[in-house]
Symmetry: none
């Protein structure tokens, strides 16, 4: 689970935060002044830092600035009583990622922490796989048991669409709509031709038929 550093000198607040966040499953570290906070932040890798503005030794804004100068990119959320627009701007400009004015709602804080924890982009959704067939949407590459096969654009789009809707029958209309961008009623044999060519290309590498036809309706890929 994610690891959060709280840099806050008022024990009441830090205890309250620690308790609440622990309950949510976060691992918490505390620092009671700017100096200790900076040191902890530099020597460990936290997922988020909650920062007070007014702190003993070094002010929060200065801690943030020094962190960024040192190349540390850990998301910083200010939690502070300094509530003017000017303060907010200074806080953000020092390198913080968000700025919450006290008193704040704990639930909102939770949600804003989650925003910072979001992965910039998970590749997870860009790779589909099914029985040894791997589709990498970024590279537009298809591998069967690690052997690459070349698909044309439409073949790739069609196969992706079928795998994306695994275990669900894709009707001809849906396929025409989503893969061919044809939104009206249209009758031609294109789909048949492409299904055929996909099956052929797959079979040339591995003797399976993953695309079943559902007579009168469309096609399906089952687990």
């Amino acid at each position: 689970m994610a690891h959060i550093l709280i840099i806050e000198d008022e024990k009441g607040i830090s205890d309250f935060l620690k308790e609440g966040l622990s309950e949510e499953g976060y691992e918490i570290s505390l620092a009671s002044d700017g100096e200790k906070g900076l040191q902890k932040a530099m020597n460990n890798s936290f997922d988020v830092i909650l920062m007070d503005w007014m702190l003993p030794k070094i002010q929060g804004i200065e801690v943030t600035r020094k962190l960024r100068e040192a190349g540390n990119q850990t998301p910083v959320i200010f939690l502070t009583a300094k509530d003017t627009v000017q303060d907010t701007i200074l806080g953000l400009r020092s390198g913080a990622n968000d700025y919450l004015k006290k008193p704040f709602s704990f639930d909102e804080l939770l949600e804003r922490i989650k925003v910072q924890l979001r992965k910039p982009q998970s590749k997870i959704n860009h790779i589909l796989s099914h029985e040894g067939i791997k589709i990498d949407k970024d590279k537009r590459e298809v591998k069967i048991d690690n052997r690459e096969i070349h698909l044309t654009q439409k073949e790739f789009d069609l196969l992706s669409y079928l795998l994306q809707n695994k275990n669900k029958v894709c009707t001809r209309d849906e396929i025409l709509d989503k893969v061919w961008d044809i939104h009206f009623d249209y009758d031609s044999g294109v789909i048949d031709v492409y299904i055929n060519s996909l099956r052929k290309k797959i079979k040339s590498v591995k003797d399976v038929n993953i695309i079943e036809t559902v007579r009168g309706v469309g096609y399906i890929v089952k687990d």
Copy 2:
């Protein structure tokens, strides 16, 4: 300069935003309802989206959700009169990156936009390298096996962009958008010409072809 999409139905507000942000040097696009907004957001690559909550056709929260479902990671900042904690949480949970309650300070908005525009990278990306090809973005210098080759500005930008997106197909639209700053549909052979010239210059020093073409889509540099 960064490109911002404003999805907002009240003309007064969108005009105000457009004027203020243009003055700051941002390029602005407008959408007056959720449907148009979603469409624009999907078909272009913006750097930030400013989103109203209550919109004709599709609500802002739904637009955000659909964007994220489709894998679009563009930062979204809600600008809305819905000011309860519960609304904020719903907004952020739908996939937004920040949430500002009306009336907000324009200066704070500006600063929060800048937060979203911050690149999550440091000096690492100033030097790209790939199979003996080294690009120094600061010096705008390209070396292949330590022999320098001269690239024109556009050639340099294009090669940088491709290397920055290593292992991901760069579509022609994306390239036109990011390298040529052309944000509308445009058909010309410029990209082909530049790819050709890049390949030629690289080959004149080392007999490799790092730029693969993905027919019907774009180009990719693979590891």
